[in-house]
Symmetry: C2
Subunit: 258 residues, 2 copies
């Protein structure tokens, strides 16, 4: 089976022009089919502030009112996505920016209001793996932002880590997929105060222990859950690492396994 | 040769939710390959106002500072483009939103500052007709906003009428292209105060006369120039009409010819 790289980048790269440019250079050098997914929460929050739109977060998730949705669509699908695409073109990578609405690549359903009403937040229902494969087969690099749609005209805000996991899983029907979560640290840390204390391997047993011991908590929990979801849905390998890993896969990082 | 419809919609439809929805229903019903191009200047001006970013227009063209560029990218490529794409998906049309940077579909060069420095405004250099044909061949409807790129990482603001004309011309290598400029009036008017005084046919000779007599002026001049440019570059037919024309091509409208 042919290999496919699915990489997700977050705020630490997106918000830093030089870091982003360096990442796009490194990402462009990787041969073979690849998909990029990006977040952009900090930029959205900044634009919200400028527009006087209230930002409300619960457990790290954005409560997405109609006004918030407009802001995230403008920020993720507009400003960030298109500058990444133009940056990749500069480095010779034929990139194509996408939301889940584009070519119906990711269908989601609005999350039902239960204990919390998250507003226009979508849970991924179906990744259109055949369409994405068709795009890859044209030699194009899909660049996804964290916006999906419900098929009924409604755009929805969806977590970028989850989108990366769902895309990687769906594309495993066609490729041997490596999923790479790129973030500010070197990997999952044993001691949050020691940036070199990278836990190099985490399996489900170790994950349970780390969770019980509260070594990992908060934002790292859903990220790791996305990793294990991907592994359970046939993704070949999952890594959490710093962006350095994209050019040198011998640097210390965290590899997940079941 | 297979037929291709290239339609451009402007502010009167984009800014009106019901009108846009009706247009997308009608547009979805048209069979065969088609491309949609949209503007969005009024929305961009509104967002600029909210953000305290100055909007400066010269001869109906936006002076595009770095801040203005961010605003138009957010508005055109983000908010408007993605809502149109989601709306088309709702009506069963497999739409894909694009800037010229996406899949390198439209390369432009930054307009040199001569008498006026327009800032980050791009003049179309090359439409990637083969890539757009590849997308159409996948059964996808490309939806272009008025953003291009220079191939060196810079996004550029480009007039939507011009993009429509350039795309229609380039695609004439592969299709018999009909170009349709959809706007608020029924067509080009003999008397601006009489909305029924549609001039049904305008050729180059008539165009020169109308211009000399100042029957047409201001924004209509570049629009008509785009029409004639398209006809001179092998576009099969060019029409200026109200959105009604999309569902009933017997309504009074203006047809251009050389």
């Amino acid at each position: 089976m042919k290999q496919l790289l699915v990489a997700k980048i977050g705020g630490n790269i997106i918000e830093d022009k030089d870091a982003l440019n360096q990442f796009l250079i490194d990402f462009s050098k990787i041969e073979g089919p690849k998909i990029l997914i990006h977040g952009g929460g900090k930029s959205a929050t900044q634009l919200s502030e400028k527009l006087g739109v209230k930002t409300e977060m619960i457990d790290g998730r954005r409560i997405t009112s109609a006004e918030n949705l407009d802001v995230v669509v403008m920020t993720y699908a507009g400003l960030i996505n298109k500058n990444i695409v133009a940056g990749l073109q500069k480095h010779g990578s034929p990139a194509l920016g996408l939301t889940g609405a584009d070519a119906n690549t990711i269908m989601a359903t609005k999350r039902p209001a239960q204990f919390v009403d998250y507003g226009f937040v979508g849970d991924v229902e179906k990744v259109n793996d055949k369409m994405i494969k068709g795009i890859l087969d044209m030699g194009i690099i899909p660049v996804f932002c964290a916006i999906t749609h419900d098929g009924n005209g409604q755009l929805l805000n969806t977590n970028a880590d989850t989108i990366a996991s769902e895309i990687a899983s769906a594309m495993s029907a066609h490729f041997e997929v490596s999923l790479f979560y790129c973030f500010e640290l070197k990997g999952v840390l044993e001691d949050i105060n020691n940036k070199d204390s990278v836990i190099e391997h985490i399996d489900l047993e170790k994950y349970a222990k780390l969770r019980d011991d509260q070594v990992i908590a908060d934002g790292m929990l859903p990220k790791l859950q996305n990793c294990f979801d991907a592994l359970q849905k046939n993704v070949a390998s999952v890594h959490i690492a710093n962006s350095e890993y994209i050019k040198d896969n011998t640097v210390k990082h965290t590899t997940l396994s079941l």
